[in-house]
C-alpha cells in the first residue's frame, strides 16, 4: 500500500480535514491507488531547472503602488455568517 493510516492522519492535519475511522480507511485506500498512479512519475529522470520556465508569455507589470478604492466593509461582511461589524469567531484567548 502506497500510503498508511498515519500518513493520512498527518495529511488531514495539514489539510484541516476530519474523517471518522471508517471513512479514514476508505480514504486511505483511495489515496493509495492515487499515489500509485502518481508514482509512475518517478521513472522520469529529469530534474526541474527553475531557470527554464520561460513560456515566452509576458505577464502584467506590477502596477504603481498607489492606494485605490476598496470595498465597503458592510459589503464584504454580507457573506459572513456571524457579524457584529466584524467577523465573529470562537474565543481564541482565555
Amino acid at each position: 500500500m502506497a500510503i498508511d493510516t498515519n500518513t493520512i492522519r498527518h495529511l488531514c492535519e495539514l489539510s484541516k480535514l476530519d474523517y471518522d475511522e471508517n471513512a479514514l480507511e476508505k480514504v486511505r485506500d483511495e489515496m493509495s491507488d492515487i499515489i500509485d498512479l502518481m508514482d509512475t512519475i518517478k521513472s522520469f529522470d529529469l530534474t526541474y531547472d527553475d531557470t527554464k520556465d520561460n513560456n515566452s508569455i509576458k505577464f502584467s507589470e506590477t502596477r504603481e503602488d498607489a492606494a485605490l478604492p476598496s470595498f465597503p466593509t458592510e459589503k464584504l461582511l454580507a457573506n459572513a455568517e456571524n457579524t457584529d461589524g466584524c467577523y465573529v469567531v470562537p474565543k481564541v484567548v482565555e
Binding site: 488531514c12 484541516k16 509512475t40 509576458k58 502584467s60 506590477t62 481564541v92
Partner: protein, 482 residues
Amino acid sequence: MDITRAKIRELRKALDEKQISAEELCGEYFKKIKADDTKLLSYITVTEDKAKEMAAAAQKLIDEGKSSALTGIPLAIKDNICVEGVRTTCSSKMLENFVPPYNATVIEKLNADGYVLLGKTSMDEFAMGGSNQTSAFAKTKNPYDTERVPGGSSGGSAAAVSASLAPAALGSDTGGSIRQPSAFCGVTGIKPTYGRVSRYGLVAFASSLDQIGPICSDARDCAVMLNAICGQDAHDATSARADVPDFTAKLGQPVKGMKIAMPKEFFSDDIDNDVKSAVEKAAKSLEAQGAELVECSIPGLKYAIPAYYLIACAEAASNLSRFDGIKYGFRGEGRTFEELIRDSRSKGFGEEVKRRILLGNYALSSGYFDAYYKKALALKQEIIKEYNEVFELADVILTPTAPTPAYKIGAQDNDPVKMYMADICTVTVNIATLPGISTTCGYTADGLPIGMSIIGKRFDEQTILQCADAFEQGFEPVAPKL
C-alpha cells in the same frame, strides 16, 4: 424557425433588424429552460428578473444604434465566475449562499457589451471532475442521452448550449473542462492561451492552469465571444501583455498548406476505436481541403496525468485553504477556532475536493516535495519543450478530445484513478499553456457526439479557429432530441 437554435451572429442580425426584441429573445430562452432543464439540470441559478432588466437596457442601446457584438445576446455563465449580486456556488455546499460583492473581469467586459445573463450553470464542485456528478446541487445530464454524463467540469455550460438553453456560455478549463464537455455534448469550446483572458473573479482551482473560455455552437461564435472577453487586466498579474487580434479575421480562409500534426501517442490503444476513426476521418477531410498531415510524437504524454494532478492539486490545496468558514462560505461548529475551521471544511467540501486537497498537501509536504511536486514541474518543462518542437514542424496539432464518448452516469463513481486517466487527451494543453479548441467530428452508432481538439501555438487562437471552422463548414451537426 426556432430562434433558440440560432447562432450568436444570427441573433445579432435579428436584434439589429428588429425582428425580435432583446426582452422577447431572453423570454424565449427562459421558456425553453423551464420546459427542458428539469430533464438536464444544467442551471443552478436562473436569473429571469435580472435578465429582464439587462434586456431592457440592451434594447435601449439597440434602438439608439449603439449595439455591439453581444448587445442583447443571452448568455449562461459557469457558476465559478463571480457575478456581483448573483449567487455563485462553484457547485459546493461551501459556497451555497455566497453572493459575490464584485464582478469578474470577463463579466465587466460582457456588461460593457450589453449581454443578458440567463443564469449560472452547474459544474463539478470547484471544477474538480469530468462528469458534473461531483456537483452538490445539479448533477447535469447529457442532452444526447440523459443516462450519460455531460462531461465536466463545465458540463452545465456545455449541456445548456447543446440543448439550446443558451446560445453560448462561459466555462473554465484547468485540464480540459471546456473542451471535454464540449465534446461530450456536441458543441464547440475553446480554451484560450494561458494569460489571454483575465482570471480575476474566477474562483481559483489551479492558478497556473485555469483559463476562462467560451462554449458555443460553432467556432465562428467562439471567435465572437473571444473578441469580447480577452485582454490584459490590471487585476490579474498573470494576464498577458499580448496584442488582442480580431479572432474572426481568419475564419473562412482556406486551410490549404496548413500543417496539421497528429502525435502518435494520442492515437494509442487507450483511445476508443470510434473516437480514433472519427478523428482520423476528420483529418482526411482537412487533408482533402489542402492541409498537410504531419506525423510526430509527444513522448511526455506518458507522464502527463501524474504531472497534471500533482501540479493542479498542489495549487488547489493552497487556493482552497482560504475556505475556513470565517469570512464567507459554509460555517461548521466548534468550541475552538481550530475546531470551527476543521468542521467547516470537513462538512463544506465534497469527497473529490477533499481527496485533491489531501493529494496536493502530500505532494507539497516535507519529504515528498522533490519526488512529486518538483518532478512534476520538470515534466511540465519537458512537455512544453516537446510541444515547441512539434510546432517547428506544424501549424496546429489534431488529437481526440477525450478517449471515449460520454459514458453512463455512475460508471466512474468510486474510482478516482479511472476518472483521472480520462483526462489524458486534454491536460498537456494546460500544462504547456497552449490554446485548444474542441469541435464535433462525428457520432457513434448510438448517436453520441465525438469531439476532436485542435491545439495551437501560444496566442495563435486565430489559426485553430480557422482550422475548426474549415472542418465545421463541411460537417453536418446533429442536434440532440430531448
